[in-house]
Every structure is written in C-alpha cells, then in structure tokens.
Symmetry: C2
C-alpha cells in the first residue's frame, strides 16, 4: 500500500477499545464496545483497533462483531473505518486476529515485538538476530492473510535507532504497510521522539512506500507533544484514545491531537478526517462505559475546559471570548443552549432533541426512553441535555438483566442501623426479597443483593456524580467489581500476564441509593453472564421471601 | 537580585492558591489555603503565589496569614519559601499585595499587564506606548516597596516578540527581578514557546541580571512540553499548580515538570528543590479541598499512574517493573504497604502512622482523630492509609461549625417518598429538628437543612467517592454550593469581572447519606460565615422542634 492522495492528511488510529480498554478497571462489555465503535465511525476515525482477539473468547467475539457491523458503516468521509486486531508475533495470535477482523470491508492485522535491549533481554529472552527473524516470519505470515499489516517495535522509545532501522527495513520487505513507533513507557521528550521519527524516515530503506505511525504514552505528561513532534517529523498516522485513557497515565488523547492540528493549522499544515463536533459526545460515552472519570481541568473535554461551562458568572468571558478562548465550545460539540423539556413535552420533541444530540433511536428504544423521561419529568421541573444523556446511558445498552431491581427500601442515618430491603425479579421468574444491615445504606443494599444472587464480589471502585446542577439532581453511579472466586482469564498482550476480569455497572436515579443498587446489580448481571453462572440457584436463606441473615458488628 | 549559585537549579513557583484557586468551583477557605501553603513549604516549593489580595477582604486575609505563618517556615532546603501576591499595574493593587505579603521573611510582588495586540486593543484599550509607560511606572512603584518584584506580560504567547523585548527591557530597568512569560491561553507549541524564550534571552538587554520564568496553560494538552521547552531555552523559574488545576484546562502540573526533570535528568541537566516523596500527599490534599477530582489516568498522581496501584493482578508488573516503570511509586510518596490498624490499635500506633504520612498533630487534634478512628474501627475491620487521610480531611481543617449535624434519619427507596429528618445544633445552643421529603434522600436531607438554616443555596457540584476498596467503604462526598441571593463579590485579575463566590464542603462517613449531609452542612456553614449571616434567625417553621413543610410533586 503506497500513500496516495493528500500528503498532509493524518490518519487517526483509535485504540480506545484495545490499549484504552486494557487499562485496569476500564473493562467494557461487547455491547458497549460495539456502541463505542459505532460512535468512533461517526466521529470519522480512520482506523479502529478493536481489541486483542487472542486475549479471551469474549475479546475475539467483540472484535468480530465490530468488524462485521461497524467495518461496513461509512464514516463522514464516505469510507468505512479500517478494523484492526492486535496480535503478538505468533501464528496463533495472527490467526485469531485475522479470524476476528476478516469480516470488515477494510481489515488490518497489527503485530508487534519488542526491540529495546531491556525488553529483549528480560522479557523476550531473545537476541537481536532472533527478533529480526521472528518479525520477518510473522509479518510475512500476516501479509499472506491480509493486505493491510501494521508492525510495531515495542518500546521503540528506548531501542537503539540503528537496530530499529534494520528491523523496520525487514518488516517492510516482509510486507508491512504501516510501521508504528511506540514510546511504550512514556519516557521520551518531544525533541528525542521527533528525532527518532526523523531518523527512521531518513535511514530506513523502503520507508517511503509505507505509513509511519506514532503511539505515545503520557507517563511524564508529554504524550500530546511527542505525538505532534512525530507528525512534524513525517508520521502520517497517530495512535490515540478518547479521553487519553490507557494503562498507567494513559495514551495520547485523540481530542488534544485533533484540536491542536485544527486550532494551529497554519503551524502544522495538516488535516484529519475527524468531525470534531462529535468529540464531546464520544468522550462522555467512553467515560460512562468505562467508569474512567474525566477531570474538570482535562484539555478539550473537561467540564471546565471552556470557561462558559462553569455555571458561574459568564458575562466577562462571553464579552471577551476572543481574548481567552482559542477554540469555540461548539467546535467540539459543547452546545451553549440547554434543552428545556418538561412534563408536557411530547414524544416528538424528545425524538427531535435526541436526534440533535446524535442519537438515532428505534421506535422501541424511544418508547423506553420516553417512559423514563415522563417519570423523571414528574419529579424534576426541567430536563436538560445532561439528564437525557444520563437516561440514555442508564436505559439503553445495559447488559442482559439476569436479576432486575423490582423494589428497594432503605432506612439509614446516624440514629439507627442502616438497613436495606431489596426485591429482585430473578431469571426463573420468581421474586426474591432479602433484607440486610450494613455499615451504611449502600453496604446494606449490596449485601442484600449478594445474598439473593449468591455471588460474592469485591467492590473495587465506586463513584457518584450529580449529572445536573441543582439540588434535585439525577445521580449517576458507576461501580466496578471483581468476582471473589475469579481465576485469571484475560491475557495482557505486552506483559503476557493474565488477570481476573472486572465488571462495571452504571445506574442513574434521583434517589442516590436506588442508583447505587442499579449500578451494582448491572455489574453483578455482567459477571453472571460472563462467568456462565446463570444456572446457579440462589442460596436458601434468600429464597422466595427471605429475611435478613447478615450480622454486622456495630460499636 | 542577581542569580547566584547553581545555574542548573530550576525554581518552582507554585500558583495553586492563585491561578489554581481562581478556577471555577475550586474555591478554598482561608484555613484550607493556609494548610495547603504549609504542605507546599514542606514539599520544597521555592515561591508560593498565595493569592490576589485586592480580589476581596477574604483573599487579602488569606495571603496575609500565609505570609505571616508559612513565610517563616523553613522548607527542606532550610530557607522559608518566598510568598508572592498578585497585583494589576495599579498602585491600589500593588499596595494591597504589599500589605498582604510584607510579613513574610521573603516577600514578592507580582504585577502584570497584557502585551498582545488583541488584549491591548480589546481589553486594555491602550496603545503599546501607554503599556510600556504603565509597566515602568508600576514596576518602579512595586520595587520602591519590595526588593523582589516579578513582572508578567500577559498573553506573551500571542505578543509580538520585538515588542516584548522592549517591554521587558524597561521592566528590568524599572527594577523587576523576575520576568515571567505566560502563554495565557495555552496557544503555543513547544517549538514556538521555546523559540520565544530563546529570543527573549538573546534580545533583551539586561536579561542576564534577572530570572526568566515560564507560565503555561494546557488548553491543547501542551503545558508540560511548553514549560520544559522554556526551561531548555534558559528559563530558571516555572509557574505550576498541584494536579495542574487552573482555569479552563488548567496550568502546568507541578508533579509532571518535577518528575520529568528528575526522571530524565541526563537530558535536561537540571534540578529542583522538591522533596518528591511529598507529591502524592499534597495532590490528595488539594483534590480534597478544592473538590477538583484527579482522573485515574492523570500522569504521576492518578490512581492508575503506577501499575501496581490498580488493585488488579500485579505480579506481572512487579516481576518486570523495570520493563514498564520509568519511576517508582515510592519516589512520589505512593507506598506499597498498607497500614493494617484495627480496633485494638492504640493512640500511639495511630500517631506513628500519621507521622509517617506527614501529619504532625497537636495532642488535641490527635484526640479528635483517635476518637473518630475508634468509631470507624468498630465498623470496619481494617483501617488503611486512605481511610486515615479521609478522616484527617473530614475532622481537621473544617470550617467554623455554625450548625452541627446532631442527627439524621432517612427513609428512601423505590417504594415510598424519600424522607429525611435532620437534627441540627445551632449557634444559639438550641437544637432544631426538621423533616422534609425530596426527589431522593440527598434532596430530602438538603431541603431539611435549608429549612433549619434559612438560607437558599444552589448545588453546583456533587461527587461521591469510595476512598477505600471494599463494600464497607468509607464514602467521601464533596459538594459545591452558591448562595442564591449572592451578589458579585470576588474580582478576577485578568478579566476584571466580579463573580459570586462558591463554597465547597467535604464529608466522610460509612453512611453515604450522612456523608452527604455533613458535606452540605460544611458548605452552608462556610457560606454563613463568609456572608456574615450568623445573626439571622431560622425561619419559624423550623423552630426548636419543627415539622416537615416541604411539598414535592411526585407523579
């Protein structure tokens, strides 16, 4: 594949679903991944790295569904995105990657092998000659399956440039069409990384026939600057994630690169295919699905990134907006207007507003949302865009409901023993009731749910946000749990270690404890489905109408 | 002041308390600011910008207390930090700044005036000659009061370099000892910003006798790279904030600059006076006090920044820690060990651990914490460092308690009307009881508190986090409120607009609703003190033993 057409076009390779999702606690379900992939296609991403198919059967299946569905969905430029799967340099991995992506209109296999002295010695236990040999063999093999093959020399940022030139030349000869240069540990400075790319461009025979890509990590806060330095030195693909999620301090942020290239176009002279007005919506979707919060002072997508968003006194900023704003909120999809829908708003008004927000709903889904909307409008005078986004996240794209929250009753405070009673509709169409006491109402509710479901999980993360201003706010809760009897089951591509999968859940309600219970039950349902624990009977003490069995020491 | 000694020493100028606190919703009380200033001194910050004294009497008082107390507290290098106050180029501002900082051992006045065409024309409505004249006049005036004077040409990033050389030369002649070059709107790239600093160094007569400083914003995600480019071009002071808080996308992060200079010392050849092992503690303190969350993928201080912190499977990382870790968690004060204190741990064990965490408590404060510790240990099997940090934030450094939460009783769930009853001990030693119904338990509790206190506030932000892993976690709640009848009262130094002050509150409890009520009451108490509303009588309907008067439409 020879670069054609516009030499100033920078390809956006989004790895939110692979390197982003790989970060601890950011696990998404297949349904959530598919939804994010659709949103990425609409955003105009050129390549979607959909996962690491060999990691587990779930991961394979998620990549396959994305290739089959989103791999045929035209983006704003008219073409569907390339769908890419990651593989180590083994035939087993490459076969899995190809099996998962081959249904896409434009499939790609991405294979990698480390080239830094520390990785070759301590991780691979291979000498440089063996590394070159393996690269040639596996890139050739991948190319025999797929026309579009990307190769990455892992930890390139700490590799010997002279050795890199050799490895990359051989990879090109073996059929690689994109060469990706990762700063795997976020170690380099912009001058170093730009110099590395310039050196590769100048010294690698055949480099003019392939794309150079850059992939940076943010351990020292330099991912954006390093990526831009790479682009200025000749890279024409950038590997990024939404909100900069990823392992440790994360990957380069898609939104920062795209908006830097756009805002400073005269400096860079480059363009991308991204429809920037979709940025904020995708950012919120990824934050909701992964449970990875975006800090208010995050560039581009933070709640404070645009001064007018703060909810404080805004006249000054609006008067002088050129003096302090270098890009408009509208350019990234932050709208200044707020929807004022109320209890008398109809189904049509709701559909119109949801369309404006970028949601195109089937009638059945609209009915569900409209129903929730009316119930919320009964409690809350005005419904804002933020409320709608929360309802969408809460109502649609939920995992299979094994157990459904049919009722919750809570008593708590400083004067007694926090107690929760839950009523759950179970998979066998029976209704289970269980009461439990806890250190607080959330603990009590979760303990009662655990007793009905008969699964013991550890709560890893727990966060609540009021999505809207005002004291009658809708509360959004995100939790992350881990199965206590879980065994290692997901493989990490770089460290090759396996780990216990974690499950996230999300709930929204004006009653914060109800939102907490919904979020926890959503995570428990995901766990039950993933672990094939559906058939398990609830323990006897939480049978059809159960009673509290939990005892807690209270001082 | 002529630079002396080590030419490779970079001064850390922390503006968390000025540019950071100025960001919407990050308001701190005077007591919180003083505590942060103490922590900054222990961290080894060279200069603390303590505030903008003319903004309001509260701001003046906070700077004065910091100058008088922290301005005499020796840092790790033995010297107390410079205490700096910001002033526009007016005698009134400069007098206020000097009045506030003069009690410090090493006071500094920082004055600024915009030099970019867009700011001079639209904001200042001054021509360039007038700008130069005003700078000369006001820097001279500041220097007549204080030996240490810093001058910043605001929006230097978009100013004409030739004009900057003239302004800066005149500022030096008028007595400025530090020249700070701000990229006010976060617009420049590292090459541009480094070039700007190099140009200033090469073309400004007298520049060799003063310090060059850089001050960057993160609107395009480039603040860290721009600051490092400035330092490489000759700047020897960097203006930064903890966690990178600040307006819009924030300022340069202290922790990223310090750790980049340290981790890549051979590249930069520079050093700072920061004791990096205090970084994490100060980061958490600032996050707690401001309510500005740190995202998990934030470089250096995010929960995921070090792989081992994730709570998932860690063996891989520990085995290969050199392969994926470029700095150790311990180097920034993240300890791998967790305290295992339990209900049988004594006062001495608690004091020892708190000392290790960097807290040096008076006996009276230790007694308060020990009491809370024992109550928590009754509910929770083991007490971790995170629990202790939460208790410290909750118990110490709270604002004046006008009303104290004496009791709370809540009933909620899907099956009834969420109802809260609060019992508050008031300023007149009377106890007030009030019940209210709401859209959820938090709304109900806040409505009941509002009725007792007789103040109507708008909830701007609301966030809950489980500070510890596990389902019996201690919940930490942060709220931000605004007085509904508030009038503009705080002035913004750059836009010169005034805004309504907001108040934050923080609470921790194993019962999330109790934590919510505590946090809200803390914010309301701050508001009452600040607005001088102490004398007001509670409305009649919430008199000594009151009843619910709140009606809510429930569909």
């Amino acid at each position: 594949m020879v670069p054609v057409g516009n030499e100033n076009y920078v390809r956006i390779f989004d790895t939110t679903l692979r390197d982003g999702e790989q970060s601890p606690g950011a696990t998404m379900t297949s349904a959530e991944k598919l939804e994010v992939a659709r949103a990425l296609a609409r955003l105009g991403v050129d390549i979607i790295e959909a996962g690491f198919p060999i990691a587990s059967p779930d991961d394979f299946e998620a990549v396959r569904r994305i290739a089959d569905e989103v791999g045929h969905l035209p983006g704003p430029g008219g073409q569907p995105p390339v769908i890419c799967g990651l593989a180590r340099t083994t035939t087993k991995d490459i076969d899995a990657a190809w099996g998962a992506v081959k249904g896409a209109a434009r499939p790609r296999i991405h294979t990698f092998l480390a080239t830094s002295p520390i990785h070759m010695k301590h991780k691979l236990r291979m000498d440089p000659e063996e590394v070159v040999e393996r690269v040639v063999e596996m890139v050739s093999y991948a190319r025999s399956l797929c026309e579009d093959v990307e190769f990455s020399p892992e930890d390139a940022g700490r590799s010997d440039p002279e050795f890199l030139y050799v490895v990359l030349e051989e990879a090109i000869k073996a059929g690689a069409t994109t060469l990706n240069i990762p700063d795997t540990v976020g170690y380099t400075t912009p001058n170093e990384f730009g110099g590395l790319i310039a050196g590769i461009k100048a010294n690698t025979p055949g480099i003019e026939d392939v794309f150079i890509s850059v992939h940076c990590h943010n351990d020292l806060g330099l991912a954006t600057a390093n990526t831009l330095a790479g682009v200025q030195a000749g890279a024409r693909q950038v590997e990024v994630t939404i909100n900069g999620i990823g392992e440790r301090a994360g990957n380069t942020s898609l939104e920062e690169i795209v908006m830097a290239l756009k805002t400073r176009q005269p400096v860079f002279g480059l363009e991308t295919g991204i429809d920037t007005t979709h940025i904020m919506r995708v950012s919120r979707m990824v934050s909701n699905y992964t449970g990875m919060a975006v800090q208010p002072n995050k560039a581009i997508v933070g709640a404070n990134a645009f001064a007018h968003e703060a909810g404080i006194h805004q006249d000054g900023m609006l008067k002088h907006n050129q003096t302090y704003e270098i890009m408009t909120p509208e350019s990234v999809g932050v709208t200044r207007t707020r929807l004022v829908l109320g209890k008398h708003s109809g189904r049509h008004a709701l559909r119109v507003r949801l369309n404006e927000l970028g949601y195109d709903l089937a009638d059945e889904d609209l009915t569900k949302i409209f129903d929730r909307f009316k119930r919320l409008a009964d409690k809350k005078k005005t419904i804002t865009d933020a409320d709608l986004e929360a309802l969408m996240a809460d109502e649609l794209y939920q995992p299979t409901e094994v157990y459904r929250l049919d009722g919750l009753q809570v008593a708590c405070g400083t004067m007694g023993l926090p107690t929760a009673t839950v009523r759950l509709a179970g998979p066998d169409d029976k209704v289970y009731v269980c009461a439990a006491v806890g250190t607080g109402p959330v603990h009590a509710a979760y303990t009662a749910i655990d007793q009905v479901v008969g699964v013991k999980a550890t709560l890893l993360e727990f966060a609540v946000n009021a999505v809207t201003e005002g004291i009658d706010a809708l509360g959004e809760v995100t939790v992350r749990i881990q199965y206590d009897n879980g065994q290692d089951e997901v493989m990490h591509p770089q460290s090759e270690e396996t780990s216990v999968r974690t499950f996230g859940g999300h709930g929204a309600d004006t009653d914060i404890i109800v939102a907490c219970a919904k979020a926890y039950l959503a995570a428990v349902n995901k766990l039950l489905v993933a672990r094939g624990l559906l058939g398990g009977q609830p323990p006897e003490e939480s049978s059809e109408v159960g009673t509290a069995t939990q005892r807690v020491l209270v001082g």
